[in-house]
């Protein structure tokens, strides 16, 4: 079991799969729990619960770093022992399902017929905050009517870190750094520095989308695509931990396997069976709710901050868009944007110099805005509205579906576990 999910580690430049680890989603199948040195306090209880689920003997390995930010140390005991408050969960009971419920049978029916007229059992399932299907920190609470979702709610176990702890979202860190450098009142950047920022942002966009695609493919059980995406993303992960200046020396040919994989995904039809017509969001809805980024563009929206940016205009950038607004459109759009991001990084490297412009940056999930140069980090209310609206939209898209398409519908939105797109 890897905490946080391998995509977050990739954003920190650590390829956990390259270390020979085979991440599992079920703790009972795992031999090893990998955690970072520091984790947000909000995840400690979930990590301890995960440790309980590992069969004995199990090892715990701490990797240096704090990919999720946060200020708390891991609360797992250094010896790897289970905290006392969780010990009772390991004791085998006598297995009587009715033990806690008195006379109530586990299969007690509610008496209320479900949408198709059958009387089913109501159950509650929680996915996250350390599930494989969703990013670390996101919690999806489902009320199941039989195996159909009757209610869904999405929340997050994570809170925005303090202003001096750096960017919240590890997968938008470079975008945020560039946005900081483009704040109103900041010194203009040197043209060569703009190139490095643009390259870093576009490579980050490619990595974010590829990692999301790999997680989504894993959710769909598509082993081959998951492995190819991880193998293709290895150079991007390596560049994340390299000094910014070395980006001018990168070899574009290293990303050819990834580009081929993305191109074959765009040309193929295998994704359509699970995603076409799923969780359709129209551009009008996105505009009403203030949702931009790939979700808006997948439904026909044209909003992309890069279209009006001088540096991108110099590279002849044109935004990628889709019309249908369903899960398939969001998947294919992110694949196309990842391909375009690799080409843009390559073009910027060849250009050598690009003009500076102030203003927000188009991050992997949408616009990334930095606080004004003389102010603290802005309150999250303004930025969090779009995030909350997206979560509500994703939760609604799960209702009325069987469990598998419900999870795919929610996952297709690439939700941020943070309270704002920062």
């Amino acid at each position: 079991m890897v905490v946080p999910d391998p995509a977050i580690w990739a954003a920190s430049g650590v390829d956990v799969r390259g270390l020979g680890l085979d991440p599992r989603s079920n703790p009972a199948e795992a031999d090893l729990l990998v955690v970072p040195e520091r984790v947000p306090e909000e995840l400690v209880a979930a990590i301890a619960g995960l440790r309980c689920g590992l069969p004995n003997p199990a090892a715990r390995r701490v990797l240096p770093g704090a990919p999720l930010g946060g200020s708390s140390a891991a609360h797992l005991d250094g010896s790897g022992e289970i905290p006392e408050e969780h010990e009772e969960r390991r004791d085998g009971g006598d297995g009587d399902h009715s033990e806690d419920d008195g006379d109530e049978d586990m299969m007690a029916v509610t008496g209320e017929p479900s949408a198709d007229g059958l009387i089913m059992e109501q159950a509650r399932a929680v996915v996250g905050p350390l599930g494989a299907a969703l990013p670390t920190g996101l919690i999806l609470e489902l009320e199941l009517d039989g195996d159909v979702v009757s209610e869904a709610q999405i929340s997050s176990a994570l809170s925005i870190p303090a202003a001096d702890e750096g960017p919240a979202d590890p997968l938008a860190a470079q975008s945020y750094e560039w946005a900081l450098a483009r704040r109103v009142g900041a010194e203009p950047l040197e043209p060569a520095t703009v190139v490095l920022h643009l390259m870093a942002t576009e490579l980050e966009r490619a990595l974010s989308h590829v990692m999301w695609l790999a997680r989504f493919a894993g959710l769909l059980g598509w082993l081959d695509l998951t492995e190819r995406l991880w193998a293709g993303a290895a150079p991007l992960i390596g560049w994340r931990s390299a000094p910014r200046e070395s980006l001018s020396e990168i070899d574009a040919a290293a990303t050819e396997p990834l580009a081929d994989c993305l191109a074959s995904l765009l040309d193929g039809k295998r994704l359509a069976g699970r995603t076409r017509g799923l969780a359709t969001v129209e551009s009008g809805t996105c505009a009403e709710l203030g949702i931009g980024g790939p979700i808006g563009r997948a439904g026909g929206g044209q909003e992309d901050l890069r279209s009006g940016d001088a540096a991108y205009r110099a590279l002849e950038f044109s935004p990628v868009g889709r019309e249908r607004g369903d899960a398939e459109a969001r998947c294919l759009l992110r694949a196309e944007e990842a391909l375009a991001a690799l080409r843009l990084a390559n073009a910027a490297q060849r250009a050598g110099e690009l003009p500076h412009e102030n203003g927000p940056v188009e991050g992997p999930r949408g616009p990334v805005a930095a606080p004004p140069i003389d102010g603290a980090r802005p309150p999250v209310a303004g930025d969090s509205a779009a995030v909350e609206a997206t979560r509500a939209l994703a939760a609604r898209s799960a209702v009325g579906r069987e469990l598998a398409p419900a999870l795919a519908a929610v996952a297709s939105f690439d939700l941020s576990p943070w309270g704002a797109i920062l």
């Binding site: 009972a28 003997p57 085998g92 297995g95 081959d224 295998r270 069987e402 469990l403």
Partner: protein, 302 residues
């Protein structure tokens, strides 16, 4: 049935499982490491069985051996060579599908015993899938048995000496392969496990020896599915150049490789689409396959 038959079946389980593990690694583009697989099995067997709290103990402990038993029974119906025909019952082809039917209560028991909604949902998913796909299996077997006028697998193999059933009855073959993969929950039909969706599904709470038994049972199911496909539709031990005893392992490996390859290359199917396909397309087509089998039998086998 003799003790030699039973010993042979046990040998097939052991050797076949190891071969399948290596084949799976080959299909995944990795170097086969049988030693690693054996060490992993040893680690699992030495690990204590860690039964989580508040689960049904009887069902929890009974499910893995029941699953393994049904898998071994299904494998025992597969004829491997003229000199080694498995149990070779008169109704062996139907007993094969009957043995597979016991996978259902095993998975239901495993899911139910966990007492958590996702595990129970996984169990019932498989029940729905099993009900839908067991019928195409039985109908495809009937179609394959018609020219042989017998449900004995060895007779069905013998009648394919000139033409395999996959050529004379392509529809039955095309229905049998995905149906048997579904009943053996081989990817992309692994709905009862669905690791990424259900966190292990019906088997989420198994560890130690139970996990080893479940893993072994799954491999044996794959072996049985591939072996019976080779026997019923690919002419069994008939073929040029190689000795008779070599053809069934080769054909079984080829079918298993195809199943594993398809499992890696395709996303997991959704239960609604699977059931819709089964009830609306596969079962009517299977009835058509039986009619075709009758016609082929009248024209070419009588």
């Amino acid at each position: 049935m003799s003790w030699w038959s039973l010993a042979g079946i046990a040998a097939v389980v052991g050797v076949g499982t190891l071969a399948l593990v290596m084949l799976e690694e080959l299909v995944a583009g990795q170097r086969p490491a049988p030693g690693l697989a054996l060490r992993r099995a040893g680690v699992l067997l030495r690990r204590p069985i860690d039964r989580p709290w508040a689960i049904d103990a009887w069902l929890y402990h009974l499910a893995p051996p029941l699953l393994l038993s049904s898998a071994v029974l299904a494998l025992a119906m597969v004829p491997w060579a003229p000199g080694f025909r498995g149990l070779d019952f008169n109704t062996g082809a139907i007993l094969f599908s009957a043995a597979l039917a016991y996978v259902t209560p095993a998975i239901l028991m495993a899911g139910w015993s966990a007492g958590r909604p996702l595990s129970v949902a996984a169990g019932f998913r498989f029940l729905a899938m099993m009900l839908a796909y067991e019928m195409p299996i039985v109908m495809a077997v009937t179609a394959a048995a018609a020219p042989a006028a017998s449900l004995r697998p060895t007779y069905i193999v013998e009648v394919q000496a000139a033409v395999p059933m996959a050529v004379s009855q392509p529809l039955a073959f095309a229905l049998f392969v995905p149906a048997v993969m579904a009943v053996a929950y081989i990817r992309p039909f692994d709905l009862p496990q669905a690791d990424s969706e259900l966190g292990g599904g019906a088997f989420a709470h198994y560890s130690g020896a139970h996990a080893a038994i479940l893993g072994l049972a799954h491999k044996v199911l794959l072996l049985a599915a591939a072996g019976m496909t080779a026997a019923l539709f690919l002419a069994g031990w008939h073929g040029p150049w190689l000795p008779e005893w070599a053809w069934m392992p080769v054909k079984t490996a080829a079918v298993a490789a195809l199943m594993l390859w398809a499992g890696r290359r395709l996303p997991r199917f959704e239960i609604e689409g699977l059931l819709s396909f089964a009830w609306k397309l596969a079962i009517p087509a299977a009835i058509g396959a039986i009619a075709w089998a009758g016609l082929v039998t009248l024209l070419f086998y009588r």
